[in-house]
């Protein structure tokens, strides 16, 4: 199993400001000097992750104290120079919110050549609320996503003459990538899914499919992917095509690990602070999905405990572990939890590890990453070598 270090690069001093952490939080709460210090610190942690044998994952959000990385590619352009070994994963670029897909392709190509072909590219729909920042049309969002995707891939893999392009949302007279990407035909492409249906297209395209903090749902996402993959390609989907994102807090002793987990838990409570009108702009989701959401009410999207009950609104660390959102404890504990989760969901080849989250300090992050790299990472190599013996029945 490959493990990727990930941090949302939060501006955590703003967590004390009452109210929403996204969209409406005024920028006056941001001290730019503090922001600079924090961003440099998170980059230092990524550089450490490179030395410790992790892959590196960055994301982006907008108008949010919970995530200061406003451009995957800006962050990765720095890390392309400052790291030597790590695969560099952008997960991801919200392409349907970008007004200029060719600019996206250019940045992908530039970081790929800068890094010596270490880039991996996630093209994502992104959080629903981000259409309020991009101001792109929420209706038919999905259609625009695939239109942008097609154009970006065409641009990346083009080795023939320059071409012109005209589709519903995008028109270009001359598509010509200088530089073009080092990895051919394109850097490896990732997408995210949160249901078995949304993973089908990813399987057909042979893209890596990641699911974030979804607990038991990961099993159905991966199942959907594997089924579609087998149908499309006539072979079993390799584990390396599947990824799960969870929070990891470890330390030499359980007490310290749980203290770290408490600080990282703040990620969940702050990310949830978003006003209702921004959660699901009209048209962003299909009508049928919106009807289901209205019928199910607010509990519908809560992750589940192993008992099947929804995760409570302010869960304990034990409940987060139970739901598969956090892996916490000594290296032995964490290894056992990951191994169990791996079996529960039918296996996956990539652990996207939030090794820093919430208010976790630099010193604690360094120790968290180092301890995991020394005592857990090597043991995970034995997972994901072949199709696992899956105990689906054990997972309600």
């Amino acid at each position: 199993m490959k493990v990727w270090q990930f941090s949302e690069q939060a501006y955590h001093p703003a967590f004390d400001v009452p109210g929403s952490m996204r969209v409406t939080l005024s920028a006056r709460h941001c001290d730019p000097a503090v922001a600079g210090t924090l961003l440099n610190r998170y980059l230092d942690e990524y550089v450490l992750a490179d030395e410790l044998g992790y892959g590196i994952m960055v994301n982006e959000h907008h108008a949010a104290a919970t995530c200061m990385s406003t451009s995957c590619m800006t962050t990765l352009a720095i890390l392309a120079r400052q790291t030597r070994y790590a695969r560099l994963l952008a997960l991801g670029i919200p392409i349907a919110n970008r007004s200029n897909p060719i600019r996206v392709a250019e940045e992908i190509a530039m970081v790929d050549v800068l890094s010596g072909g270490r880039l991996e590219v996630g093209m994502v729909k992104g959080a629903a609320y981000e259409v309020f920042m991009s101001n792109r049309q929420p209706a038919r969002f999905n259609e625009r996503f695939w239109e942008a995707h097609e154009l970006i891939v065409e641009a990346l893999r083009n080795t023939g003459d320059n071409f012109s392009w005209d589709s519903e949302h995008y028109q270009y007279r001359a598509v010509s990538l200088w530089p073009r990407p080092l990895q051919q035909p394109t850097p490896p492409i990732w997408m995210t899914a949160s249901s078995p249906y949304s993973s089908i297209e990813h399987a057909k395209l042979d893209y890596t499919c990641a699911t974030f903090l979804s607990g038991a749902v990961a099993r159905s996402v991966f199942e959907g992917y594997r089924k579609a993959y087998l149908e499309a390609h006539g072979r079993v989907a390799p584990d390396k095509r599947l990824a799960y994102l969870g929070v990891v807090a470890t330390a030499g002793d359980r007490k310290t690990a749980f203290q770290r987990a408490e600080q990282m838990k703040v990620y969940f409570t702050t990310a949830a602070r978003l006003d209702a009108q921004f959660r699901n702009p009209p048209g962003f989701n299909p009508v049928k999905a919106n009807v289901k959401m209205m019928q199910a009410g607010p509990n519908a999207i809560r992750p589940r405990l192993r008992s099947g009950a929804p995760l409570p609104s302010d869960p304990t660390i034990e409940q987060y572990i139970d739901a598969g959102l956090m892996f916490v404890g000594t290296p032995d504990d964490v290894y056992a939890q990951i191994k169990q989760f791996y079996a529960d969901v039918g296996g996956f080849g990539n652990l996207l590890m939030m090794g820093q989250a919430g208010t976790l300090s630099h010193a604690d992050t360094v120790d968290n990453l180092t301890t995991f790299a020394k005592h857990v990472l090597p043991r995970l190599q034995e997972l994901s070598v072949d199709a696992p013996d899956v105990r689906y029945e054990a997972f309600a």
Binding site: R140, Q277, P282, G283, N290, M294, Q295
Partner: protein, 275 residues
């Protein structure tokens, strides 16, 4: 959903008609001269009460706009112009003449967009708190942004009448589907520019039929200042306000609004001067 008449009863009167290949949900009711009723953002069912009142004096044609209610939304439709041209086909389809055109809110915008293109089948126009003119100038907001409002505050922003509370999820599935489709259609036609057409103000003078603008004095979405801009751009229009009335005129004062529509008698010579 804020309607006086039960939406299900009202909608049971709806039929489907195919116009230029588009399956349209349409209520036709009443007797008298033709009236085309163009509903606002909450769908034709939101206007049930005033449609019933108007049906006493008119043959009311009350469609669900393409994308709203149960009306189809052709994939190429993406702007208010598409709706305006569609309604010109609608008037041709039924061969309606001397039509009284009534539009509220978003429907008022659609009515204006129809008539700047062709007003030959229409004799009178009633715009109830129409949108469509510039809603913001740089940082100066003229029309509140509904997409930025807490859903719990939505009814209080749009109407003076207290909203009936109920659990959304308990509504029958077809009603939930209508709510979701109506909301999506508002986004499709009004997300950005926010509920306006930057060219409409250059074209409003082309509306050559007599018009009346009805406006709620307590419209918290598009206040009276916005109404006055509309009135000055409309060559043959006058502004009439309604007391104790918000943006949803059809919810807050359907009787008063219906009476203004029924009694709207423009000077005949002006009417006949329409080219």
């Amino acid at each position: 959903m804020s309607t006086e008449a039960a939406p299900a009863d009202f909608l049971s009167q709806a039929k489907f008609v195919e116009i230029q290949g588009l399956k349209l949900e349409l209520v036709i009711k009443g007797h008298g001269p033709p009236l085309l009723f163009l509903h606002g953002m909450d769908g034709v069912e939101g206007c049930a009460r005033i449609i019933d009142l108007l049906a006493r004096d008119f043959t009311v044609y009350a469609p669900s706009h393409p994308g709203f209610g149960a009306s189809e939304l052709p994939r190429p439709f993406s702007s208010i112009d598409d709706l305006a041209y569609f309604y010109l086909d609608f008037l041709d389809h039924f061969d309606l003449n001397e039509v009284t055109m009534v539009g509220f809110s978003l429907g008022g915008w659609i009515a204006a967009e129809i008539l700047v293109k062709d007003s030959s089948r229409v004799s009178k126009l009633v715009l109830g708190a129409p949108l469509g003119l510039r809603t913001q100038e740089k940082r100066a907001i003229q029309v509140a942004d509904l997409f930025m409002i807490d859903p719990k505050q939505m009814d209080a922003t749009l109407q003076v009448t207290p909203a009936r509370n109920g659990t959304l999820g308990a509504l029958p599935e077809p009603m939930l589907e209508r709510i979701a489709r109506n909301a999506e259609a508002v986004a499709l036609f009004g997300w950005s520019p926010y509920l306006y057409n930057p060219k409409l103000h250059l074209r409003l003078h082309r509306i050559r039929v007599p018009a009346v603008l009805l406006w709620g004095e307590e419209d918290r979405l598009a206040p009276l200042g916005y109404a006055k801009t509309f009135a000055t751009k409309l060559r043959h229009g006058r502004l009439e306000t309604l007391a104790a009335c918000g943006h949803r005129i059809y919810v807050d004062c359907p009787e008063a609004a219906a009476a203004r529509i029924v009694n709207f008698e423009p000077a005949k010579p002006q009417l006949r001067s329409v080219p």
